[in-house]
Structure formats: C-alpha cells, structure tokens
C-alpha cells in the first residue's frame, strides 16, 4: 500500500491529512515553507461573535493534530515537477523523488502584482508580505506605509498593520493602465468594496450600504466620494486618488499620487507626494495551480473563482485518475472553506483507495463545504457560488465527452 501524498500544509492540506490518517492510511505532506499552516498563519481578525481568528493558533492546532495521528509533514521541501508514469504519480523535489497512487494538490493561492513605476524598489512588497512580516515574524515592514489596491485582502491587512502599531498613511488605487484597469477604476472598486463593508465598524458601512444599492447612486457615490477618502479603522481609503509612481533612491521614500476622475483618468496638475518607508501592492489573489497544469489537468477561467482553476468535481477529484485538489487552488475563498474542502478530498481518497466505503460521509462533507461557504466571514468574490456552478457545468460536459469517446 503506497502512502497518500499531499502537496501543501495549509488548512486544506492539513485537514485532508487528518481525515485520511483518521481512516487508517499513511500520509506524507510536503511543503516548501518553514512553518506548517500556509497562508492561514498570517490571518488575524475579529469575527462577528467577538472571537479573534488567530491564524497562528489555528495552524498549530491543525499541525499538532496531524502529527498526533502519525501524519508525516516535511517542510522546506519545494515540489518542482510531477508526472504520471504507469499508474503512479511521480513527485520531484530538489533532493528526492516520491511515488503515490493518490496525490492531493493543496498549493493555495498567490498574489497578483500591479506593475507601477518604481515597484521593484526595496521596500515595495505585496500586501501579503507585509501581513506575514507583521503577524508571523513580528517584524514591522516599515514605520509608515501606503497600500495600493483597494480590496478585501488589503482592507483586512491594513487593519492588522494598525493593530501592530504600523502606520498606514492611506489605501488607494493604482493609476489605471492596460494591466491595472480593473483595480484602477473607481467604479469597479466601489462595487467590490460593498462586500467588505460588514468588516468596517465605521462611517464606511453606512456610506457604502446606504448609497450603493443602485447603479446611479454608485456613480454619484464615486463622483462625490470625498477627495481625501473615507476612513475605515481610522485609515483613509481613497477611491478618487491613484498612485502614479513610487519614488526613492535605492529604497522607497514615498509615492506620487494624483486625483482621478470617476472613470479613473488622472487629472493633470493634481500630483502630490506622500512620504512612506514601505509600499504594499494589493493586486488580488489567484489560484496557484502550476502543478495541476504540468500534470495535464484541463483548466477553465472562472472570474468568480479568481482565475484559471483545474477542472474538478464536488468530491475534489480532477479529471485525472488519482489526482485531487482542495483549498484555494480550486478558487479563492477563506481558510474555513479550504479546510472543509480538505476533508472532502481526504474522504474521496479513502473511498477510492478501497479502504472503506465513505459515500455517506462524502455527501455530508460536500454539504459542509456549502454551509461553510454560506457562513463565511470573508468572501473574496461575491458570486463565488455561481463560479462553482459554472465549474460543475464544465465537469458534466467533460463527463459527456468522455462517455462519447468510450461509446464510439
């Protein structure tokens, strides 16, 4: 009997490992990071019931539970390639090659950059980098920062920075360009922001939810959006200003901002300098799915899920035998959803391995994912459920094609 192998020790991978080990199979988890927990490690926010979601604690619990069940977790191990030889998945790392008949990819998500002049200067980092420095390593990314990109993640991390005593001068937009067009257009950003308003216990909530129900009012909202922004957790959010350039000799010294029109065009003559010793770029998240691509999975682009996702079904099986996916590789959502997908994937593996019949449990696990999704505190895309339906539709199409091929 070969060991089940999981790539990624985030909430999805660890939850799957626990589920599989509980059912008596051997599991090996590979992860390139120094600590188990994935992107859950940096997460820190207050839930509506007043509890703090502390990613370090949550990660530690998952990690220790997995170890107690005999799961082997190998950190500092980057997987660079995989392929199928005969009926075995072959997994390549710098030092060793592994073989398994059941492989789960739980590699999570990654951040999209926004190319802005000056973005390679030391001191410019992704917003997730600042989160990890602050909450995991407990080192300040700087004393005073500007966040470029207004979205769920940047709003949450701005609050985390402030909590740790790091000043955020403002959260603002990038100058609109071919690449940044979505995140540089105030109207688009306003639309997506309506879904974070529940996280802001301030003027922003009222501002957002009251005004923004109808298209016309949204336009009015942008037009009359105060030039100096509205404040969320005391941090100005500026939808009518954009960063044109990040400046500094060898390191970040600040940004040049300008006022923009409701459609995102820079108004000449409004440029001003804002001093900062670090700058965060928040271009949004997309699934980190290269390994599924080299394995040969079919992919579909689904906007609501954050980008290209490998085709899979509700049981977390891909179109390739013995290859499974769970967590943010299947679409951008919070850690609780990722964990519930890990459980479903784990049960599918146990079932398909012939260890025990898990039909009932799989059904329940699929319902659990839905339930977790419905109750999620953080939602990265408001229409994630529609995205999942699109994917299900592609899966059914795929099954029909396979049937036709077998039929002929």
């Amino acid at each position: 009997m070969s060991k089940v192998i999981i790539i990624g020790a985030g909430p999805a991978g660890l939850s799957a490992a626990i589920t599989i080990a509980e059912n008596g199979l051997e599991v090996l988890v590979l992860d390139e990071y120094m600590i188990a927990g994935g992107r859950l490690l940096g997460q820190l926010y207050e839930e509506p019931n007043g509890n703090w979601w502390n990613g370090i604690k949550e990660s530690k619990q998952l990690y220790e539970k997995a170890l107690d069940l005999g799961v082997k977790i190998q950190l500092h191990t980057a997987v660079s390639n995989l392929e199928k030889i005969d009926s075995s998945w072959v997994i390549y790392t710098a030092t060793e090659t592994y073989y398994t008949s059941h492989l789960l990819l739980a590699t999570g998500a990654t951040e999209a950059p926004l190319p802005i002049p000056g973005w390679t200067l030391p001191g410019v980092m992704s917003v997730g980098a600042a989160q990890v420095m602050t909450n995991v390593h407990r080192v300040k990314p700087g004393n005073r920062g500007v966040i470029i990109g207004v979205n769920v993640l940047s709003s949450a991390i701005a609050m985390e920075l402030q909590l740790a005593g790091v000043q955020v001068a403002c959260i603002t937009l990038p100058k609109m360009s071919l690449v940044t067009k979505e995140s540089g257009n105030p109207m688009n950003v306003m639309n997506s922001l309506l879904h974070v308003s529940h996280m802001a216990p301030s003027a922003f909530v009222k501002f957002g939810s009251k005004l923004m129900k109808i298209e016309f009012m949204k336009k009015m909202g942008i037009t009359f959006f105060p030039k100096n922004g509205v404040k969320m957790w005391d941090i100005p959010i500026m939808l009518r200003k954009a960063v044109i350039e990040i400046y500094g000799d060898n390191e970040v010294e600040g940004v040049t901002m300008a006022t923009i029109s409701p459609t995102g065009e820079v108004i000449p003559g409004t440029e001003e300098k804002v001093q900062a010793d670090f700058v965060c770029i928040a271009g949004g998240l997309y699934p980190l799915a290269e390994l599924a691509a080299v394995a040969g999975c079919p992919f579909y682009h689904i906007e609501e899920l954050g980008g290209y996702v490998p085709l899979h079904n509700e049981r977390m099986e891909t179109a390739l035998e013995g290859l499974y996916v769970a967590g943010n590789i299947t679409g951008i959502e919070g850690a609780k959803v990722a964990a519930s997908q890990g459980v479903a994937a784990g049960l599918s593996i146990v079932h398909n391995n012939g260890t025990s019949n898990q039909e009932q449990n799989i059904k329940k696990a699929i319902q659990d994912i839905e339930h977790t999704r419905d109750n999620a505190f953080i939602q990265f895309h408001p229409a994630v459920k529609e995205g999942k339906q699109k994917l299900q539709h592609y899966w059914e199409e795929h099954l029909n094609t396979v049937k036709d091929m077998v039929g002929n």
Partner: protein, 112 residues
C-alpha cells in the same frame, strides 16, 4: 531591535531571547533563532538583498512566501536561495548576488 513587534494586543508577547549571529555581505548581524533570513535582515533595517543580475538595480523581498524569487541570496555558498523561506542558523554566511557581466545577453535589436 526596535523594528520588532514585541508586544501585540492579540498575539501576545514575542519571545526574543534566543539570539544568534550570522553575516550578510561580511557584516555581522543578530537575529532570532529559526526566524527567516528575510525577517532577520529587515529587523536589522536591511532592505536591499541583492542587485539585479543585469541592471544592477537594488532588490528586496516582494512576496515573502516563496513565490516570486525576488529575495534570492547565496547562503553558505549555495546560490539562488530564497531568504524568505530560509531559517537563520548560527554563523550562517549570506551574500548578495551582484550584477553579472552581460556578455551572454542577446544584443540583437528585436530583443531590446
């Protein structure tokens, strides 16, 4: 080490007692045992980790979680090591990658 967040209202107090030393570009620095090289250097105020191989422009961390490879340095003689994924060890020797000779570049105009 003033850049560290010692007291955090939710995460509590940081244990900063286990200190080790390492060198970066021949200068000695101190950091916390097992923290990442990227974090240790930033805590010492070091943002520039290397020079771009072709332009010589300074570069530092970007993603901090192993995806972008912007923080690559040489550790104990091994090149291309990601500072954000590497825990510091006592007496570790770390150096920056410097600008390379550009003789291997393809100078034909369509590649400009």
């Amino acid at each position: 080490m003033t850049k560290r967040i010692i007291d955090h209202p939710i995460l509590g107090k940081l244990d900063d007692t286990d200190i080790i030393s390492f060198t970066f570009n021949n200068k000695e620095y101190r950091g916390l045992k097992n923290e990442s090289l990227a974090a240790a250097l930033l805590a010492n105020g070091v943002r520039t980790l290397r020079s771009h191989e072709e332009s010589g422009a300074p570069r530092g961390i970007y993603c901090n979680i192993g995806h972008c490879f912007e923080c690559r340095v040489t550790v104990d003689g091994q090149q291309g090591v990601r500072a954000c994924l590497t825990p510091i060890k006592e007496n570790m020797v770390v150096t920056s990658n410097e600008k390379l000779l550009t003789t291997v570049r393809d100078w034909r105009p369509e590649n400009e």
